[in-house]
């Protein structure tokens, strides 16, 4: 917590992990490098109206490889996120499809009015791409986008996406380019886990996807928590706990039909899992959907607590705040 001054800590064994890493690769996972950048290059080949923008974070959002491939189609806007968001609206007015990247914290917190009024209200065809979603950095609250989904869910006319893995990211890019209208997309960068190719999965904008069935528990998850959910399901299988996983990459508009259909299948514990504060994200969106739909079920949330999170190393922090593979398994066991 940040309300008290930290005490010095010199005696503890210090785990050495880079503080800034943006994807959470667990042991045994395959990875793919820079799926967003590669997919954007591919899509830009088909669509000459695509342009790239960044506010001095091209390298850290994987759009730098697009900039290398198409130097005359990339606009470096410097450390001016508000300018970037609004200028993206201007480029869209002239018929271009800007993909504008920064960290998710800066997109959500710093640019809100600019995205709301210069883009969403004017229905400008801009795609915002936010790096370091949720708890994917140990830098502390300035960089931990624990609240971006809540912030952007409240914005009319904006589509909100949270991809699980490299496959999800690379399939989102053409779908996002095809979609006419403003989009906010979280992105995982660098060496990004590759998981969903084992599940015969294909990203469809606005659709949830049932990745596995199960009689005892239904995990409804978004972002990389779907990867954690799938891992947890395998682990719990060993205890004969049968876990279904419904992946919801489109947080808004929510696929209420599929969520209601799956949640109303009787007898299962429903757990919503997200790499985001428990306030205002997928958990509360699903809860509202179930209440409105008249579905009552045992309901639990796995997400980040409503607080400014600690700085530190990622494995420790993800464990501390309950979104590591082990933490997910432990909590579901407790609830059964």
């Amino acid at each position: 917590m940040n309300t008290t001054t930290k005490q010095p800590s010199v005696d503890k064994a210090l785990p050495v992990t880079p503080a800034i890493i943006s994807s959470s690769v667990d042991e045994g996972h395959r990875t793919k490098s820079a799926p967003f950048g590669h997919a954007l290059i591919e899509e830009a080949r088909r669509r000459p109206e695509i342009v790239g923008m960044s506010a001095d974070l091209a390298k850290y959002t994987d759009i730098h490889i697009f900039a290398q491939a198409y130097p005359d189609r990339f606009y470096q806007m410097g450390m001016s996120e508000q300018l970037m968001a609004t200028a993206a609206g201007g480029l869209a007015k002239e018929g271009f499809i800007p993909f504008a990247t920064t960290y998710a914290t800066f997109a959500a917190r710093r640019c809100y009015d600019f995205i709301s009024q210069a883009v969403a209200e004017q229905d400008a065809n801009v795609k915002f791409v936010g790096g370091l979603p949720g708890l994917t950095t140990g830098y502390g609250p300035s960089h931990q986008a624990t609240d971006d989904l809540a912030i952007f869910r409240a914005m009319p006319n904006l589509t909100v996406l949270d991809p699980c893995d490299a496959l999800d990211v690379e399939q989102m890019v053409p779908a996002v380019a095809e979609h006419k209208g403003p989009v906010y997309m979280r992105v995982l960068r660098g060496q990004v886990p590759l998981v969903l190719d084992e599940y015969n999965y294909r990203f469809e904008l606005g659709k949830a996807a049932l990745l596995r069935g199960g009689r005892d528990v239904l995990i409804i998850s978004t972002g990389f928590m779907t990867m954690r959910a799938l891992d947890a399901a395998k682990e719990l299988q060993k205890d004969s706990v049968d876990v279904a996983v419904l992946h919801v990459p489109t947080v808004k508009p929510l696929d209420e039909v599929t969520i209601l259909r799956e949640a109303s299948r009787s007898g299962r514990l429903v757990v919503v899992a997200e790499n985001h504060t428990v306030i205002g994200g997928l958990g509360e969106a699903v809860a509202g959907c179930l209440m409105r739909g008249g579905v009552s079920c045992a309901f639990r949330q796995i997400g980040l607590p409503d607080q400014f999170l600690d700085a530190g190393t990622l494995p420790v922090l993800q464990d501390r705040y309950g979104i590591s593979r082990k933490a997910v398994v432990d909590r579901i066991r407790c609830w059964l």
Partner: protein, 281 residues
């Protein structure tokens, strides 16, 4: 207005008179509003629309048009006045200003009004938006200009300066920024609320071709707009227009608190008379 016929100042004065009259018609509907700004900026807008800009009012989305961005959304009343005079809107629609389901909302928005290129109102969006459009027009190898109207209070908004830096960096010589320097903002005189002077030197230091003119002098405005369009350097352009709030209606010019004016019904009649008297004189 296609390929901008160069109107004589007397014709421009006639246009500016009707723009002011249109604004009073709208303000009278509500009995209140941003009439002093509309009267003050009427000459600037008249020179923009009837001398400088290349537009087709019957074809608001014509690709080769010059763009006009209204950053100060509350100047909607001034913008509708000139759009009506230019033929984008029928005169009969003026009396719907600010009413439910009108195409003329109090704060200008792009989805409401033909000829409105952006939704303003959240002050500080204009110059960043102009940068994006300027970049887009350059990509398309278009010769169109982006005109952008800001207020002097807007000079205190951070994004204005983020945009100024980038406009110079990208050599956006297709941007012609206009500042309506009327010395008044919501809480009082802009010089004491937050002084942004010396504005000329600031924009020069930011890499702009800067002119400062009397914004109620049609001849000076014509010269400044011409110079802005024809300036040879690859720099963004800005014209700081010193205007008088309420210009053309003596008792409104003299009013001390004039950011948002409420008048009785008979005073609106006086406003027409005052405008006519000034114009005849």
């Amino acid at each position: 207005m296609d390929h901008s016929p160069l109107l004589h100042n007397s014709e421009l004065a006639e246009r500016a008179y009707r723009v002011r009259r249109n604004a009073i018609v709208m303000a009278e509907v509500q009995g209140q509003g941003y009439i002093a700004q509309a009267l003050g900026v009427a000459d600037v807008l008249s020179v923009a629309y009837f001398h400088a800009m290349n537009v087709r009012p019957d074809q608001p989305d014509w690709e080769d048009r010059d763009r006009f961005l209204l950053s100060v959304g509350h100047y909607g009343i001034a913008h509708y006045a000139v759009l009506t005079e230019a033929g984008y809107l029928p005169e009969a629609e003026l009396v719907t200003y600010g009413c439910d389901d009108s195409r003329l909302p109090m704060s200008g928005m792009t989805s409401y009004t033909p000829g409105a290129e952006m939704s303003g109102g959240s002050i500080g969006l204009g110059l960043p938006m102009a940068v994006g459009m300027g970049l887009g027009l350059k990509r398309k190898k278009s010769k169109s200009f982006v005109y952008i109207l800001m207020g002097d209070g807007e000079m205190a908004e951070g994004p204005t300066w983020e945009a100024a830096i980038s406009a110079a960096h990208y050599q956006l010589d297709n941007i012609i920024a206009l500042v309506d320097f009327n010395k008044v903002q919501a809480d009082g005189p802009s010089t004491s609320i937050m002084s942004t002077e010396p504005l000329v030197q600031k924009f020069e230091a930011f890499g702009f071709f800067v002119q400062r003119v009397n914004g109620n002098d049609l001849a000076a405005l014509v010269a400044a707009f011409d110079a802005a369009r024809e300036h040879p350097d690859p720099k963004p352009r800005i014209i700081i227009c010193d205007t008088k709030m309420g210009s053309g209606v003596d008792f409104l010019e003299a009013k001390e608190k004039n950011h948002f004016i409420r008048l009785e019904a008979e005073d609106w009649k006086r406003a027409y008379a005052a405008l006519d008297a000034r114009t005849v004189a």
